[in-house]
Every structure is written in C-alpha cells, then in structure tokens.
Subunit: 137 residues, 4 copies
Amino acid sequence: MGIPNDIRGSFSRQAFMRTIGASLELVEPGRVHISIPFSPALSQQHGFMHAGVIASIADSASGYAALTLAPANSDVLSVEFKICLLAPAVGSRFVARAHILRAGHRLSFCTAEVSAIDGEQESIIATMLSTMTTKTA
Amino acid sequence: MGIPNDIRGSFSRQAFMRTIGASLELVEPGRVHISIPFSPALSQQHGFMHAGVIASIADSASGYAALTLAPANSDVLSVEFKICLLAPAVGSRFVARAHILRAGHRLSFCTAEVSAIDGEQESIIATMLSTMTTKTA
Amino acid sequence: MGIPNDIRGSFSRQAFMRTIGASLELVEPGRVHISIPFSPALSQQHGFMHAGVIASIADSASGYAALTLAPANSDVLSVEFKICLLAPAVGSRFVARAHILRAGHRLSFCTAEVSAIDGEQESIIATMLSTMTTKTA
Amino acid sequence: MGIPNDIRGSFSRQAFMRTIGASLELVEPGRVHISIPFSPALSQQHGFMHAGVIASIADSASGYAALTLAPANSDVLSVEFKICLLAPAVGSRFVARAHILRAGHRLSFCTAEVSAIDGEQESIIATMLSTMTTKTA
C-alpha cells in the first residue's frame, strides 16, 4: 500500500517544525513519528520542554498520520485536539508517535503518544486525541 | 487585590515564549493576555501560523491566569488542555486571552480565546479549555 | 430569522432525554437550553447528579444549537466533546445552555455551560466544548 | 496485589448506572470494564444509543479504574473528560474498557475505549481521555 500524498514535502514546508528542530522519523500508512531534541530555547520556566512544543509535534504527527490515508492531492487541517500532560517533559529527546483511530472521507480521528528519552530510558509524558479534516483538491 | 506571584519574572524564564516572540500584554487577577506577531518561521505548510504556536500562547496565558490567583510562592503546571481551531490562523498578530473559570487549592480550570488581528479586523480563531495544577513551595 | 429544522420534533425522538426527564427550555438561532430536575435515579455514589447526565444534556443542547443554524432537512451528530466538571452537581435543577461558536457547512463548534440551581442560587458546575457534524438529506 | 477500595459497593450506589442497566464486568488493578445492553429508552433521534450514555459508562469505568489504584478509604471524582465518537453507537451491547495511564497522589489520567457488540462482531465506537481526582478520608 503506497501513500498517495507527499508527507515529507509538506513537512519540509512547515517552517515551525524546522524552527524547533523537529524531524520526521517514520511515515507509514496511518502512522507518523516526529522527534525533537531538547533545546533550552524551547523550555518553560523550569527548563523543561514547554508543553506547547510537545503539543506541536504531537499535532503535526497526527495531521500527517491522517494525510497518509487521504486520497491523492489532499491536504489536512487540525479541527481540535486534547492533550494530557502525564509528566513534566524532562529528557534529551522527545518522540511523538501518532496513529489513526478512524479515517473518514472528511474527518479522521487520531491518537498520539509523546515519549521522553534519556539515554536508554523512555517514558510516556503526554497523550493526545485529535480530529483532523482532510480536503482534496 | 494584588497578585502574589511574579508572573512577569516567570514568563521571562519561559525561553520558548521568547523564541517565538510572544509578549505578556495584560496581567490582572484571574486574567492574562499574551500576544505574538506573525512570523514565517512559525508557519505550517500553507504559510499560516502553526496550530502548535496558537496552542502554546493559549496554554501559557492560561497557566499564568491560574498563577495570578495562587498563593505566594506557587508554581503552575498544565495538566491537560483542549483546543478547538475555529479557523486558520491568518493574521499579522495573534492574542490569547485567558481567564479562570474556577480557582481551587490544587486545580484550576481556565478558558482562553485566541484572536487573529489584521489591521482593524479581529476574529476569534481558537478556543481552549484547560486544567492547571498549582504547587506551593 | 427562522429555524429551518424541527428541533422540538427531533428532541421528542431522543428517548434518552425523556428517560432522564430533560426538557427543551429555549430554542433560538444558534442557542439551545435544556433543563433537568434532580432525580435520585440519576445520581452517582454520593447522591449528586452523575457527570454523565450533566454531559448528556450539554451534548444534546450543543447538537441542537448546531441544528438551528443548519440548512433545512439536516441532521446533526456529535463528533467529539470535552467537559470540565468545575464543581459537584449539587442542586434541585440543572440547565445546560449551549451556543454556537462557529457554524460551518459540515462542522460546527459549540460551547455549553451547565448551571446548578437551588432556590434563588445558580452556579456554573460544568463547561463543554464540542464539535458537531451536520448532514443534509 | 489487592484493590484497597470497594469498587462494587460504590458502583452499586451509582443509581444512574442501575437506571440505565449498566453492569460492572471486570475490576482489576488499574482496569475496569462496564457494559450495557442496548435499550430504546436510551436512544437518540435515530434510535442509536445516545452519546451521553456512551460517555456515562466510559466516565464511570475510568473513575473506578482510578479508584482501584487509590489508597484505602479513597473516593474519586471526574475532573474532566474528552470523548471522540468514532462511529454511531449501533449494536446490541456496549462495553467501556478503561485503564489508567498514570496514577498520581491526587490526579490520575485514564483512557477508555467503548466497543459496540453485535453477535460476533465488535467494533470500537468511542475513545475517551479523562482526568480523575482522588480524595482519601
């Protein structure tokens, strides 16, 4: 099964992902991973990664997960998302792993988990549920 | 009524807010506004502001709104938030306006609206509900 | 401005609303209120109204608020909702007041507040954000 | 590992669960299942189960999942929940399966899936993320 849309091309046009140093780790049908190294420039008042950064990579991963299953020449926009911040974002690297719960013509439901990685250790720090809308040109 | 915590000091330590160019516009008991100018470096694939940036300023405004009502020497962390993206983030400037729905000993509920501003025009592009937890040293 | 869909007819077919004793209090373009008296049969383990009942009337009010603005012969389904339970549902009567934040062709965003009423006292106990989808026959 | 709180006793005091015909299917540390047969008395305007009923059993299952991990003599209240309604609630029976993502002193994060069952067929129709607070007497 191929992926009809150019996920890597679209990701490279998300200037914000480049600004924060995020990279696309995995693109499979219904599944996208985005990772980001810790940077002091992205921290909140205690020096941990800001929740907004964690939400941002989870949102982008979720949107692109939806786009992997959309018809060719589609585009995707976030309708809404909800994120639970299970633990402070402490780590040297973070990975958001999104997969599609249900792909529809117009609406797709996604879930994503974000893990903090520190050496060999990995723990889940956030979980997201989101609704994406796809539009086909 | 005074505000027992140093909101501006904490905000200045949120490096991520500085990185994206956000500034604290208003701090009142139970109410905080944060604004950000549009920047191409913060855009998504169509050149609009990335939803993650919009969520980030709404989250920070909500957290600081909770902190205005917390006892002295408190700190605040986001437990979870949900954001509805009512319209694409098109504008030259964006303002997140948060206020507290209910402030509790440990948990506070906030709501925030984000408006896009273009010249004289202002329209609401996102709305957030969030839960914040406050810890007192 | 008229309301193109038969909100009262649809509400009367929601058997669950009848089962829990809910009634339609107000129907205006973009705005619907549903109320329910307290009943011990609808309580949780402390004798307060179950959060699920509070969510149910807020969800129905939100869906019908969306339907007031949809084209004739439309129907509405909940895509997702999020509810903050600000306080225990203690009172003799509860009113969910929903209004539309943005009505679109396919998707509408709603907000609803639920108040507990006890004699002259009224206080907000819950707030909901939701996404509704409308389908036109 | 035992469960320090009387989940079945508390469930039997949730009159609303009895009113809608829900029953406790499984209670394990960190994991609770609640099921409900379809009833026309619980339907929405098309004769499917009302989203509020689906949310109600998912909310109760999530709260009790949190209570299985709380200290003895604790009680649990829902802080907030978000539910995605992946598909209409069509089936002869529905099961909400909740498990704890992270159990904390005061706050626990849960997830729940609701499946519709029709003969041998089972499909996921809803997914919930929730925050629970536990209080110990």
